[in-house]
Symmetry: C2
Subunit: 364 residues, 2 copies
């Protein structure tokens, strides 16, 4: 059979150093499990801008479209904050999402066993927490037109963005969320601001209709975004699956991820629609960002990216057994008290990013 093709985009900040640890895992797989990937590496974000003057070259975009899966590190950093809008690192990431049509972004907020104490919340509120946020990723205010900054006759400037959703965009992401809820506790919260935004009214109505026609077995609740932010802090365990739009999903998933104290441990996946063979285009990334403040110091936690790779094995390549092996190895390493700085606790030993990678491969 043809090799599985994999595009690796380390990106900016801690992206390259965490991705180096994934490479160790890939090497181990080639040697010990006789699985090899056709790995292409490319540039995205600030790194691509430095090399080519654009946050994503057309060639890299084409590579992403033809690869079986994409693994991304993170993009962005203060270094590029002053760039014109279309040169910014984030544009590279947004182009990937849009052109690959990755409309469903799955962001788990899970508390890892043994990491309860790393949470800012009281242990009893987060122990065994397991929330899945399904964020719409190719619509809403991130991509809506018209947009831009114009100068008014009186010299003032005016900045505009457009929040827009259509029936089909809402339904396709809600379907993904209902299906996932079914495999979990069959509880779904749909989140918007229908009390002040018509796009939220449409969102609520379409999700409700889909529920009533196809998913009456799933318990559906609607919640306003501000209340959801409150409830996440107050009683996070009330949630199973949350589905929401691009912008609310950005904020609420970061909030939920941080609640866990396991931010450096959380992988995420973004999927497109299934093709004729049932395969979905997919990109995997850690939930954490590029963390420019600690970049290059070999202190970042590589586990979120390694677990993103495991997710890829499971969902894009049906390699459940290998994914299991990696996930188990992560748990064993953590249980042995080996920790990067972000997840230190009582009686643990602090190791570097590369030592964490080495330790994991040794465990494998």
């Amino acid at each position: 059979t043809a090799n599985k093709s994999l595009l690796i985009l380390p990106g900016d900040g801690i992206g390259p150093e965490v991705m180096r640890q994934v490479r160790r895992v890939i090497d181990w797989m080639a040697k010990r499990r006789s699985v090899s990937f056709d790995v292409t590496e490319g540039l995205v974000g600030g790194a691509a801008y430095e090399a080519h003057g654009t946050p994503l070259k057309d060639e890299t975009m084409a590579d992403a479209l033809s690869a079986d899966a994409v693994l991304l590190g993170a993009v962005g950093g203060p270094k590029w904050d002053q760039l014109p809008y279309d040169k910014r690192p984030e544009r590279g990431l947004l182009r990937l999402r849009k052109e690959m049509d990755l409309f469903a972004n799955l962001r788990p907020a899970v508390v890892y066993p043994g990491l309860v104490d790393a949470s800012a919340l009281k242990p009893e509120l987060v122990r065994d927490l397991d929330i899945l946020i399904v964020r719409e990723l190719t619509g809403g205010v991130y991509f809506g037109e018209p947009r831009g900054i114009t100068t008014l006759p009186d010299g003032q400037r005016r900045g505009v963005n457009t929040q827009v959703y259509t029936t089909n965009e809402i339904i396709r992401v809600a379907k993904v969320a209902f299906e996932l809820a079914r495999k979990r506790q069959s509880r779904l919260h749909s989140v918007e601001k229908a009390n002040v935004m018509e796009s939220g009214v449409l969102w609520r109505e379409e999700v409700q209709k889909l529920h009533d026609s196809d998913y009456t077995d799933v318990q559906l609740e609607h919640m306003y975004a501000d209340n959801c932010a409150m409830q996440l802090v107050r009683q996070p365990k009330q949630f199973d699956v949350i589905v929401t739009d691009n912008l609310f999903g950005d904020i609420l998933s970061d909030c939920a991820a941080m609640l866990t104290g396991s931010l450096g441990m959380l992988p995420s996946a973004s999927f497109g629609a299934p093709d004729a063979s049932g395969r979905r285009k997919a990109m995997y990334e850690p939930v954490h960002g590029s963390a420019p403040d600690i970049a290059g110091r070999d202190v970042a936690n590589p586990l979120a990216t390694i677990l993103s790779f495991a997710m890829m094995l499971r969902y894009s390549f049906d390699m459940d057994e290998d994914a299991d092996l990696i996930e188990k190895a992560v748990k064993t390493v953590l249980a042995s008290g080996i920790r990067t700085g972000d997840i230190m606790g009582p009686n643990t030993a602090r190791v570097s990013c590369s030592t964490m990678g080495e330790t994991l491969v040794r465990e494998l």
Copy 2:
């Protein structure tokens, strides 16, 4: 001198019962401090809809515009969730904000002494927490045009809202935030999504310009909204004043308020531009909502609304001494271990909403 005129709008849910406790305080002031207000009471939200078929009558709007200050309870509830958009309780509140031009909404997130344990966060992260969120309240996606739901030629529906800010709208709210920061720790975080939204780019640029020309003594930092949600959970004490737009302010202020565990204690104020005499139009409300789940059971915490009234005395009527008295009485009552259900802790006694009001007046 003419009496001070005060419009009271209890609204929905727990609004009426908490407002009844404010009335006790007003009666006490008339008797013991010889201060009397011309109090008018009106309907807003679902209550106004039930009585008049509209969430805010023109007469009530006129009363609000002519009053020296407005005190509002809360609006909304599941009962009215199915109403057409322009009949919903929230439209009444939004109309008040817009027509009174209350562009600056001050939402403190303060941990009350003795209530540290009510927070979901670990005590050391929130002890003495004191954040002030300045939320823009009359612009952005809440009011931007075009908006609405249309049907497309293929039968799909399309929901649209518009996020829009002009230079002047940004500057006037940023000024309020810089001035307030100066009276505190002189640190301001300005929050947007300039990495994905042009309206955020404009926001960032205008706030920076205003800083560079008039407020170089205030330490200004820009932060993305998703990161702000994370940082609020991770290390809330890093913030002094936060200024942000209407929608981000809605979500982030609720998140920050909930962090404190003192939600039932938090007042808020919304101000317009100063008139010729330097007086600003103002509306005061508790940060908490209408809490339909506990409404009518006499268990709500009336202190947020009573403290909103104290804030009104201070800012709209220059009655600092009376405001001090009320705030001190609140602290004394709390210190004595008297608590409503939301802020119970070890060694405290649970009382009803009305008993809390009585106890406070007795303390006064």
